[in-house]
Symmetry: C2
Subunit: 218 residues, 2 copies
DNA sequence: ATTAAATTTTAGACAAATCTAAAAATATAT
DNA sequence: ATATATTTTTAGATTTGTCTAAAATTTAAT
């Protein structure tokens, strides 16, 4: 039994630890959660008592095994719900984040396992993010940044930026998960790319955009 | 923007007012919500300031038009989610209440309208309760208690008792929504009934059970 | 190696929702 | 109609998660 707030802290710690350093700072957490460092300190004490995090004052924080388990479970729920919203309810991939932020806190293991079955045991969510199974295991990574990938023929497998502005821009380009991307020109000056999508339309994309697109490594 | 707690108070007031008197008492609310009368009084003051209820101290409480609208919207969400759980995720009708109690507070009109469409605009939930449309209108009532219905051939349309024990008992009898019930004997002494279900198996049911079964009035 | 800057924690306060115990108002009973 | 019982409200306290302002600690800079 953990509150929504506690769950959000665990998720935030997990995500900050995932991309980068082991120890997460109070300020980084406050930033991520839209709260103040003083509030974070209070909550860290609470989570520490519950043995969900390793915390020594002034020394940053990391998840314990049980804290990590909870964080991954929340991510699992978030991603399954996002896929449900897109696949079954016909939401756009740019519209589902906020709703999934609420749904991820619904408490019922049976619910999430049945939802997973209903969705046919998917491995990736609508943004290409991997969905952990009910033991907390992630499917193998399978992608690299389009901006860094060697070669010229790829399948788009995910996005880094999950914001609506970026996703809507991709929609406008006609570019989505599963599409074939062929790199036709690389412009060394600004690292922009000319690509063709599914052997059909071509498009110019900036380095910034290419840095936010994940493609299969084959 | 109302808290889960506020929504639960509005729902409880709506339900208590529905079966019975107009004005709902503080004690009745405390009973229904599993809380203390003193807490109820505090919340009533708050809801009154928000103009969601009509409240004069010591005089009981009733919903305003906007309070009623919110209460019906929550009931709509609860029933649509229950149907989703039973129809799509394969839960039993005795298992869905608690989960729907959580899901009913997810805030997104678009979500609930898309869910309604996905379920093909259903009019009744897994217990036969009517589902209000997005304007808050209920489908017409269509049922009476089996214990009181005149005639001998009926279609089961709903239940009064929603508890798992009762629902599981009906499951054991092989009796569910849509089934045909033919009353073969009425025992005047204890008002128990001998019925046949779908022209097949017959069963004896007590007056107490018959009082909790709703059937079509034709 | 001190000082300055940044980060983090503590102290004290607040709003939401609850509680217990006591007081006030209403309803009931003889 | 007055006393008794019931219901409801008030008063004051508690818990959760937040805040601001000030103090403590760590990091960075000269």
């Amino acid at each position: 039994m953990n509150s929504f707030t506690e769950e959000n802290y665990l998720k935030a710690i997990y995500k900050l630890a995932a991309n980068g350093q082991e120890e997460v700072s109070t300020n980084a957490l406050a930033e991520k959660l839209g709260t103040k460092p003083a509030s974070v300190t209070d909550m860290l004490k609470k989570l520490s008592v519950k043995k969900l995090i390793n915390y020594k004052r002034y020394q940053g924080v990391s998840l314990t095994a049980s804290g990590k388990k909870i964080a991954i479970q929340i991510i699992r729920k978030h991603r399954l719900w996002e896929l449900f919203l897109v696949k079954k309810l016909d939401f756009g991939w740019d519209e589902v984040h906020e709703i999934a932020e609420q749904l991820e806190h619904i408490e019922s293991d049976e619910l999430i396992n049945k939802l997973e079955k209903f969705l046919d045991y998917p491995r990736y969510d609508p943004h290409g993010d991997p969905i952990p199974d009910n033991k907390g295991r992630f499917p193998a990574e399978r992608s690299s940044l389009l901006s860094e990938a060697k070669g010229e023929l790829f399948i788009m497998t995910g996005v880094v930026d999950h914001g609506p502005a970026f996703l809507q821009y991709l929609d406008k380009l006609g570019l989505g998960l599963g599409d074939e991307i062929k790199v036709k020109e690389r412009n060394p000056y600004d690292e922009s790319l000319k690509i063709s999508i599914n052997k059909k339309q071509s498009a110019f994309i900036s380095h910034q955009v290419a840095q936010n697109i994940l493609v299969s490594i084959e």
